[in-house]
Each structure stands twice: as C-alpha cells, then as structure tokens.
C-alpha cells in the first residue's frame, strides 16, 4: 500500500482575475521507504504540494490518501490526529518551540501523538541517534543551526511516522551542517525504512535522493528514479 497517493489534486488561491492555480491536477504516489525530492523553481508549487501531502491544507479538487486514509472530508480534528500520528515535519527554519529544551521539543511530538510508554527513554534514544546525546537540556537558542535542525529531525522521527516531510531542510544550514543532517536522514531512511519527501533547490539534497520529482507552474514535469541515491 502506498504511503501517500495523490490523484488529480488541484489547489487554487484567490478568485476571479487574481486566481492562481498553484497545483494543476497533480498525481503522485509515494511508496514506503522512498527518499523523494521535489524540485523546481520558486513558485512551481513545491510547498503547496508538501502542504497537501502533510495535510496542512486540503485540495480544491482531486483526492489524497495517507497510509490508506482518505483525507477528503476529514474534520480539522481528524486531520490533526492524522498529522500527529503519521506525519513528521522538518522545516527550513527549524521551527522549534523556543521556550522548550531540545528534549521537551521532541517529547512534545510524542505527547501530541498520544504515544504511550516510556517517553523519556524514547526521546533520549532518538536524540542519540541524531548525534545530540548530552545536549537535550539545551534550549534552541543554545544550539547551532545544524544542531537545531537535528532536534527537528528527532522531533519528526520520535513518534515513528509513516512519512517525513522536509521543506528545504538545508536552506538555513552551512554546507557541513547541511551534509550532516542529510546524512542522518539518509541513514535513518536506510536503517529504519522511513519514507522521506523533501522540497529543495539544494543539489546536495538532490544527490541524496532515490527519486526526483520536478514541478513547474503547479504541474509535475518530470518524475525520475535515480540509480544510486547517494
């Protein structure tokens, strides 16, 4: 069963002469374990497509299902539940909660997902996996950009989602930090079979991808599986 399946998804903004078709009848299937990059110029619809896949927004037309759940018609509460349980997010600007420590930021995701069990052990384990052992007590402003993004990665992964969405995850990182974050995600993809989907201009990200989907003016113009990934 695909992790994510979009069929003829259309998303429009505005009305009348100012109407913009941000996505035009986009169909896309993401299988488990994929490491997919969405690329394309600014305004091509990458972020809009990620919003759809992440259930942050709903399509005007077409259908979307996540891990077998049809999104159309779900209430706001049900969409929240779907995001909490099945989707991990990594953002360009990290989007950590500044008043919480790294551990608390990660634990927040578990709390919202309603995951039972020993949360602290899970939090410490995932922080160790992303190379932040011993830094869990620090707040985001006490961490470097690369470390903050790794906290965001840990937050996305700790609840064991079926899909991780990363929107320009290396855009605010220097090359060394960006490479480290990518390597971490690629390793987790390989070791745990987690499914990743990125949007990025960054050639390094594209170089890591197993599949590259190119968008232009709200439509998929190329969908290519790479030979090696990275």
């Amino acid at each position: 069963m695909p992790i994510c399946q979009l069929t003829d998804v259309t998303r429009r903004y505005g009305t009348g002469p100012s109407r913009v078709d941000a996505l035009k009848r986009v169909s896309l299937t993401i299988e488990p374990g994929e490491f997919t990059v969405l690329k394309g110029p600014s305004g091509s619809g990458k972020t809009t497509l990620l919003n759809q896949i992440g259930c942050l927004d709903v399509p005007d037309e077409g259908s979307l299902s996540i891990d077998g759940t049809t999104v159309a018609g779900l209430s706001s509460k049900a969409l929240s539940r779907l995001r909490a349980e099945k989707i991990g997010f990594i953002f360009q600007s990290f989007n950590l909660i500044p008043v919480l420590t790294a551990e608390e930021n990660v634990e927040l995701a578990l709390d919202l997902a309603g995951k039972p069990g020993e949360r602290r052990a899970a939090v410490l384990d995932i922080l160790k996996q992303v190379g932040l052992e011993g830094l869990g007590h620090r707040r985001p402003n006490e961490l470097s950009g690369g470390q903050q993004q790794r906290v965001a990665v840990a937050r996305a992964l700790v609840k064991k989602p079926v899909l991780v969405i990363a929107d320009e995850p290396t855009a605010n990182l220097d090359s060394e930090s960006g490479e480290a974050v990518l390597a971490t995600m690629r390793r987790l993809n390989s070791e745990l079979g987690l499914t990743f989907i990125f949007s990025s201009h960054d050639p390094r990200v594209v170089a890591h991808a197993k599949r590259v989907v190119t968008l232009h003016d709200g439509a998929i113009v190329n969908d290519q599986r790479t030979a090696t990934g990275a």
Binding site: L56, K77, R83, S93, P98, V99, L112
Partner: protein, 405 residues
Amino acid sequence: MIVRLALKNLWRNPRRSGLTALSLIVGIGVFVVGDAFLGGLDENTIAAAENGTVGSLLARPAGYPTIGVHAPLDKLVTVGPEARALLDREAVAWTTRVLFTPTAVHGADAVRVRATGYEPARDAKVFTRERWVVQGAEPAADGDELTISPSVARILGLKVGDRFVLQARTHQGALNALEVRVAAIVQTGNLATDSLGVRVPMPLAARLTGAEAPTHVLVKLARRGDAKAFKPALAAALGPQAEVATLEEETAELLALQAVRRKMLDVVVFILLALAAFGVANTFLMAAHERTREVGTLRALGMTEGRVAALFVTEGALVGLAASLLGVAWGGWLSWWWSVHPIDFTKEIALKTNGTVAMSPLLGTRFSPAVLVFAVVLGVVVAVAASWYPARVASALRPADAVRA
C-alpha cells in the same frame, strides 16, 4: 504538557506578564479591601445600634419621629403588667429610656444636648460598655449627678465635679431647670450618644421632664434573629400606644445607603477589572501574533484547534490565578489588619454629626475568607474571558500559512 508549555510561555517575557497581571492585582485587591470596608461599615452600623441605641428591638410611642434630633415627650410608653411579664419571661434583658433635648448652660455658654434618661441597673445589661472610656464615676442613682460626653465637656468647658444647669421642657410643656453635677465624662464609642450627649439617671430625668413613663423600651434577646418573631407579641402586649421596631428595621435605612455604596464599589471594581481584561486581551493578542509560526508548528505536529485555544486560555488562567493570589494577598492582608486594628475617625467625624446616626467612629473591616476565595475565582474568570478572543484568533490560524510565517 499544555500547562507546562503555558507556564514557560509566560516566563518568556516576565516583565510583560507582570505588567499584564498588575492591573488585575490592583483590581482584585481593591475589590477585597472595598468589600471588607463595606462589610465593616455594615457590621459597625448593626453593632452600634444593637449595643447602644436599639438592642434587639425597641418600642416607642406610636408616631414618634425617627428623623432629625427632635425628641418629643408628649407621648410616652407605659409598660403594663402584661408587657412586663412578657419581657421578664422572654428577653435576656430589657430596660427603658427617656430621650429628651434639654439645653445645658454653664456660665455664659449654652448648648442643646441630647439627653438619655436611663435605668442604671438595667441599662448595662442591655447595652455593652466594652468600648466606654470613663473619666469619673457612675452617677448616684437618685442624686443630681449625670455623665456628659467629651464634646459637651469641651464646648462648655466642664470637667468631672463641675456643676451646670440643664433646662428642659417637661412632659406637660413647662420649662424646668435643675442644677446638676458632672459625675463622669463618658465616651461610649457611639456617635449617637457621644455627639452632644448627656446620660441622666432616670429619677433625675423624671424630675427634669416630669415624665412618669419612658419614651423607649429596649429589649435584648438571645439572638438577633429572634426579634422578628418576638415583635408581634410585644406589640400586642403594649397595645396601640406603641410601635415596635426590630434592629433590622432600625438599621435598614443606613444599610440601604451602604448597599448603594456597594453598588458604587461594584462599578469601580468592574471598571478596574475591565481595564485589566483589556490588558490581558491585548497581551495575548500580541502573543498570538508574535507566535504565529509556533502555533503553526504546533498545528503541524498535530495539536488540534481546541488544544491551541486551550493553551492560550491556560496562559490566561495562570496569569489570572497568579494575579488574583497576589491581589488577594495584599487586599486580604489589609482587610485582616484593619479588622484587628480599626481606623479611628473620631476626630474627623465625631463633632460633625448631630447624634442621629448610631455608629462607631472606629471603622474596622470585616475579614471574610469566603470573599478571598470569590476574588480568586473572579480574577481567574476575568483573565480566562479576556484570553478567550486571542485564543480563538490563534486557533483559527491556517497551519499551512502559520507554519511559514
């Protein structure tokens, strides 16, 4: 997690949180202190009447004036055997008084005074003398001695042992005058008797006024609440010559005036709390705006609209709780302090009243733990209500937009 996150959010900008809470702290404190003062004023009014001029209930001639300083002697109350038996049987204590308004003359000085003819043995059983400040001795029951209030002593330049003349209209309308001696200067702590008051033992009062019966019968019952039930029996025993009024009825007018003051306090507190509410709402609206991306992140992580709203409302409730506790702390402390150490307004008001108001110039507060609890709840409710709109604004943010704001 929501409470922990709310607490941390409030500590994000402690100065702003503190300033937001300040108006609530002031409003809640003013409510507590104001309510305590009005409660104290109510208690003062009731206690002064109960312990100085009314007892649990009183009887006076039918049609006797209750407004102004006029104390006519044309009608008196005769306590017949039936009424006497009833009072002896049912009352804890009872006594009689003759109120009249003679002129006190000392040398070239003269002043109209409020005289109370009283039964020395009985009077003390009905009315407490705990707050009396006595300079001198209790007058002899059947001599020419009396006590005067400090204001009469000051105006006429009298001291204990001095003699002066009391001129009074008799029951029959003739003008009578007797030379009397000051046995004591007594401050009762009740403006009704301290303001130009003289206390005259009943035999001397009868000689001055020619009254063979009292103008007032004053009754002390076991409990305040018993007066209403006892009133019809006493009225029936005394007959149509007299009207009977309970303590509650005698103080109703003053308490009604104080109810108006309470309404005014309510208005002041409402304005203060409304200002506080605007402050809270403004702060949280700013917070909702500043934290748009955080709200978007929380929504992306799966927080529902309801929990986002709950987060902001929880922050409001915590501000309200902290501010209310601080407001109750300062307001409650002042209320307690003044309940133990009443403020003495003797100099300010004792000489400005004409003795028609039964109250103590010592104004204390009524310390009420129930009011403190109510004040805390009130503060929390105000803060929660004020944070409701910002919470709705925050929860209504579209996650797709907010997360990249």
